[in-house]
Subunit: 128 residues, 2 copies
DNA sequence: CAGCATCCATGACGATACTG
DNA sequence: CAGTATCGTCATGGATGCTG
């Protein structure tokens, strides 16, 4: 596995890093959607992240790309297309988020909400 | 296990709930510290969460207690003491956070920081 | 299409002082 | 001891309009 477990303890300073990455409003959802659907273009993401603004989407894409979580690829098509996807690191992150998502979906307060969920709003929580 | 896996998919609406809980600056650290040390009193937490303000600690304790993540217990001592701890639900949450912590601690950018870490800043990532 | 620039509202957080 | 009250600051994110 990837986790270099030199011990069973980690330093407090790791926590800030986690919050910086996934504490952002759309980060977990964005990562999960890219895990579910594979690579997507800006406007495809804009459509799936209901309620996000272009500027916010732009910012989060820029940040997560800069952190090596996302890949940004320009295709050779004419006209060129730009696609975003999970990097290897991003896939690891997504996998490590799955227990958290499963925990959340098992909570009562969530299960009530989930009953009204449309099929197209369901996201896979299987490992990639 | 607790996770009621009716399917391998979860609804988008679960994500907001996660961000509300663990997106807060001190939430993950607080949960991990209570997992590590067991029940603690306000000023003990205040000492361990270096840099937090009393008002912020007060707020996060109130919120996580309200969500059933933390327990708040008044002892019968004289004078009475108030101790905070993880509820059953909080322990589940903590366990589901462990893969994320392990992932973060395996990242290069983190490992550099971690070299300067004091022993007392190490937190266990074993299941409860 | 794939954003970026700008402005604005909200609220999270920190500092400090105070209380029963 | 275990907080609450108040205040100020800053960052986040939404709305909108513009661009190559």
């Amino acid at each position: 596995m990837n986790t270099s477990l030199k011990s069973d303890k980690i330093c407090l300073c790791a926590f800030d890093g986690i919050i910086d990455i996934i504490g952002r409003k759309w980060a977990i959802l964005l990562i999960s959607i890219l895990g579910e659907y594979g690579d997507l273009r800006f406007n495809q993401l804009y459509g799936k992240l209901e309620g996000i603004s272009p500027s916010t989407l732009s910012k989060i894409l820029y940040e997560l790309s800069g952190r090596g979580i996302l890949t940004r690829t320009v295709t050779q098509d004419k006209p060129a297309k730009i696609v975003y996807g999970l990097s290897g690191r991003g896939k690891e992150l997504r996998n490590s988020l799955i227990p958290l998502l499963n925990w959340m979906s098992g909570q009562d307060e969530f299960e009530k909400m989930a009953e009204t969920c449309r099929p197209e709003d369901l996201i896979s929580v299987k490992n990639l």
